[in-house]
Amino acid sequence: MEELGNLLNGFSVAMTLPNLGYMLVGILLGVLIGVLPGLGGANGVAILLPLTFSMNPTSAIIMLSCIYWGALFGGAITSILFNIPGEPWSVATTFDGFPMAQQGRAAQALTAAFTSSFVGALIAVILITFLAPLLAKFALNFGPAEMFAVQFLTFCSFVGMSKEPPLKTLAAMLLGFALAAVGMDTVTGQLRMTYGSTVLLKGFDFLIAVIGLFGIGEILLTMEEGLAFKGKSAKIDFRVVVQTWGELLGYWRTFLRSTAVGCWMGITPGGATPASFMSYGMARRFARHPEQFGKGAIEGVAAPETAAHAAGTSALLPMLTLGIPGSPTAAVLLGGLLIWGLQPGPMLFVEQKEFVWGLIASMYLGNIVGLLVVLTTVPWWAAILRIPFAVIAPVIIAVCAIGAYTVHSSMFDVTMMLVFGVFGYLFKKLKYPLAPLVLALVLGDMAETNFRQSMLSSQGSLSIFWSGPLVSSLMGLSLILLFWPAWGAFKRWLKVREGGTGH
């Protein structure tokens, strides 16, 4: 029970008055980000990251992770009241949330969404509390070959599990690696792919990419759709909350199922979005009245929200223990850790105990604070959503520009943000996934260093990746995932040939 002792220490770190204040500020900013179009968890955290440079790392990460929780909560508000998913993972919440709001049950839907998010996150944090130290201890024995194999697995599972066309997933990922390689080579100090340009010496910063791809790209997409917000208003009173909680108790099986789906998808880089869809589908299949789904079933709100929040939270488990983020937002948090000189990975649990347990404790507290904040402040957020897009859009552009500039105080970064924004728009329209691009950009240098160190120890022979049971099973699993889509295409092709009349 060493974990409980560590956790109690963590609470004493997180429970100080300034840290609780940062938590509250973080949650409020996070909900704001989640509610506004064009600002989401990943780019919201990226924009606000420079604000924390002057803070101590523990307070900073507490505030940033609370922004993340807030964004997860905020996505539900727009989905239910406006039928506009503020975040991709709340798309499934609109299926039943918006019909409930139309029937005048907005308060129940919101309470159900917030409570389910809370439950999902709480179980995921408990999982992190007990699993993270074990995983970190296990990972301490990893050499460069094992680390590369884990990173390889991360990227292959993108190809194997992504909804997007596998070739485009690969293209996005390789582009990320290529961009990561630009600038000074960390091992030999040689300049690569700069073509004589001095601004490229530092390479491409993934924070700029995140702000451009997700922020500016999203604004361009929203402008194309010409959104007009028409929403329901909502006020939550305490009686409805208690009533809804009572009703939700009957759905404990849905909660458990959705949390399991969410945690699994969060630890493997499936992410919150597929997790929410999967758990919505499962809830419908196992429901007593499946015909009610889509018409305002409270279970249809609870299931995707639980899974999305569980996935969002458990994405931090591989980030902390292995240095591999499970989602773009976790990638940005990882970038933050690197900026403060904290190297995520197994050593973090040995060298920075106070920091790690402070963060884990703040996950418990942050979610409780978050639940209370969103339950009490819903009417304000609904009012913010009524501000027309003609006002919101230029303000968000200005905020994105500030975020891009402050990372390195560089004007070139602001220009790059715009370029990434245009590509973000094109990629979204053409169904190139953005998450593998961002992850490859973050992990590129690390993966390359691990690969080269493995090659060094084996004198350039790839056989090092088949030299032990652990590394070979990781590599084997990766290859299966990598070729999974090709196998599916091959089977379809066989069928067409046998049937003769395929289309």
Partner: protein, 168 residues
Amino acid sequence: MSDDTDASRPPIPTRWPELIVACVLLVGSILVITDSLRVGRDWASDGPKAGYFPFFIGIGLAVVSLGIAFQQLRTWRSDQRVFSERHEIAGVIAILWPMVVYVAAMKWLGLYVTSIVLITYFMRRHGKYGWGLSAGVSVGVMAVLYAVFERWFLVPLPKGPVEAMLGL
């Protein structure tokens, strides 16, 4: 530019943007490969040279982007997917060019003046608000951002001649 002529014209098909993006990726991969060859993709006395890893990445990207381009060319005639309607693209361009001007002007004028102009322009042009309200909102927003970033969190933002005149 008027809406009724836009609506009568056919939507933009996906094939061209698809092919162009694949070609941009291909050009990128060629840049990566040539520079990897320059710094050396083989083995030096102290281990792999700097081009060792990026070379494989470049080759992979070239193969994948050629694959995407090839798929698109093969289904060139049968591909009926729509990229966007004309008026939707007009909406995107209506926000894109002010953004380009905004970023370009920021080098000389700093962030505050350009942002105020951008927000005012948008509220006037797309929201049909009056001068007073537009100016009030834009100056108010930037004042709040100034307070949060420069006063509270001590992060300096780019300033131009106007701020220098005001002594900020």
